[in-house]
């Protein structure tokens, strides 16, 4: 079973309006590369010029922020779920 990636609204124009796509990469960074090969342009929306995740993009693996895991080196296994979510305001 592959890894599911939930695509946020602002990026769905790039994924032909797919809300969920599947990848088979073994790390989060690898998933971004795989997504770029299928949906050209998506990587620059997620990563800045230095290759780091943009500061207003939050990436979660199974609901845990990857900054608490191993960032883009975070390993993925079958059945994992990645969420990409814009940072939002306080409350």
């Amino acid at each position: 079973m592959p890894v599911k990636v939930r695509i946020p609204t602002p990026l769905r124009k790039l994924t032909n309006n797919e809300e969920v796509i599947e990848v088979s990469a073994s790390t989060v960074g690898g998933a971004f590369v795989e997504m770029q090969s299928r949906y050209p342009g998506i990587q620059e929306r997620l990563l800045d010029e230095t290759g780091a995740v943009r500061r207003f993009v939050n990436v979660y693996v199974n609901e845990e922020d990857i900054r608490f895991l191993q960032n883009q080196q975070t390993p993925l296994k079958n059945g994992d779920e990645i969420s990409i979510i814009p940072a939002i305001a306080g409350g």
Binding site: R6, P8, T9, P10, L11, K13, R45, R54, R55, F56, V57, N58, Y60, E63, D65, R67, F68, S83, I85, P86, A87, I88, A89, G90, G91
Partner: protein
């Protein structure tokens, strides 16, 4: 009736500058940067001067041109213009020449500064045709959305962390709002709401309505300037959760300068956090312009945001203005709450204890010089966070209804006092 066509021009990405129409949308499609309202300041300048403002009702809407709605407000007419209290007794205790408390513990109707942002967000939501409003909240925002939505006849869904103080939970339920408690901390509630907001077509005040919502905080800064007699305080101390309030206070000072409503004088806006959730002050003290997310563990639950969305901008504002920041422990938070209550008769929630506690540290270290003047922004009422101070605020002494027992009690206390 005065007619407005609106003083807004567009929404604009704070990162890349791309512009968007004035819709219910909050992030740049390109880089996910937050969108901010762009105003037509030349039109505003023609419509707003000191005498025009002073002739208007004493609410936050007297600064109407700088708040992002097109027509007259339809939610929360009475919000704002809370007292700016000269705090001489607290000034003496903290060792500073002049001190003021901006007292949003008595904001209308739900006793926190959130009524400012919510009245803007809900008025704008109505303009955009929404009938259901929602929020992700650490408590105060939930209370305010629930109450203001009830008064406006809007349907409300509020999402909160399940471990909130009872006071804040009841304070949302009573208005008939749908209160959804999430088993997780605020950052997890937030993440869920970001996903829900994309799906249901509701006006989420701090998600898709955020560009409008956040601007409401500026009214606190406008009021401070006006209530000080049209001057900018040398020092303002603001508690930080997402960091939004601090950035908007600074923006309010900048806008009044730009419009010629106040003279440009040096000012600092210092940030206050709880040690148990201090991603912004930790980064600031280390001289960084980015923060590391944390997992919150503090009694200041209204500030418990480990991934602060405006953290970058709060850091930038503090850096540009040469301001300081610091954080205080749970014990220091309670001490701060007691100090404010005992010196000024103001019962603030835990976040107010954070502000007072950090102000005390900054004055003691000279970062706020003893001969200067400071305003502390106190943002929510203490009755909402009773759980945090039960057992720390002294205790009652119980006697029978007998004069003899009362005299005995006074005698005993006099003896204890004499031996100290």
């Amino acid at each position: 009736m005065e007619k407005h066509e609106g003083f807004m021009k567009a929404l604009k990405c704070r990162e890349c500058g791309r512009e968007y129409p004035l819709a219910a949308t909050h992030v740049c499609e390109f880089d996910f940067g937050p969108l901010e309202v762009v105003y037509d300041y030349s039109r505003i300048r023609q419509s707003m001067d000191r005498s025009a403002i002073q002739a208007r009702p004493q609410t936050m809407w007297r600064y109407r041109e700088l708040l992002p709605i097109i027509r007259e407000p339809t939610v929360g007419f009475q919000v704002g213009f809370t007292p700016l209290v000269k705090a001489d007794r607290l000034a003496q205790r903290l060792g500073i020449r002049e001190l003021w408390i901006k007292n949003d513990t008595v904001n209308y109707p739900t006793l926190s500064f959130k009524d400012r942002v919510v009245s803007v967000a809900l008025s704008r939501a109505r303009e955009l045709g929404f009938s259901t409003v929602a929020c992700a909240s650490t408590g105060n925002l939930a209370n305010s959305v629930a109450a203001n939505a009830a008064a406006a006849g809007l349907k409300a869904y509020v999402f909160i962390p399940a471990d909130l103080e009872q006071g804040k939970i009841v304070n949302s339920l009573i208005y008939g709002a749908h209160v959804i408690a999430i088993k997780g901390h605020y950052d997890e509630v937030n993440r869920l709401c970001a996903e829900i907001a994309g799906k249901f077509g509701w006006a989420f005040v701090n998600v898709n309505m955020r560009p409008y919502y956040a601007e409401g905080s500026k009214s606190m800064g406008f009021e401070i300037i006006e209530q000080l007699g049209w001057r900018i305080p040398q020092h303002t101390v603001v508690c930080m959760a997402s960091g939004s309030l601090l950035t908007k206070i600074q923006k309010s000072y900048q806008e009044f300068i730009k419009l010629g409503l106040v003279a440009e004088t040096p000012y600092k806006v210092h940030g206050a956090q709880a040690t148990g959730c201090a991603p912004i002050s930790t980064a600031h003290k280390a001289g960084l312009d980015f923060f590391k997310p944390v997992k919150p563990n503090t009694i200041a639950k209204s500030l418990a945001i480990g991934t602060p969305a405006d953290g970058f901008y709060a850091l930038r504002v503090m850096k540009e203005t040469g301001s300081a920041s610091d954080d205080v422990t749970d014990a220091e938070i309670i001490e701060g709450m007691k100090l404010l209550a005992e010196c000024e008769g103001i019962f603030a929630e835990t976040a107010g204890g954070v502000t007072v506690g950090v102000a005390k540290k900054l004055i003691a270290s000279g970062k706020i010089p003893a001969n200067d003047s400071a305003v502390l922004c106190v943002t929510g009422h203490g009755l909402k966070t009773l759980d945090a101070v039960v057992g720390h605020a002294g205790r009652t002494r119980e006697i029978r209804p007998s004069l003899r027992e009362f005299e005995a009690l006074l005698d005993a206390e006099a003896k204890i006092t004499a031996t100290i």
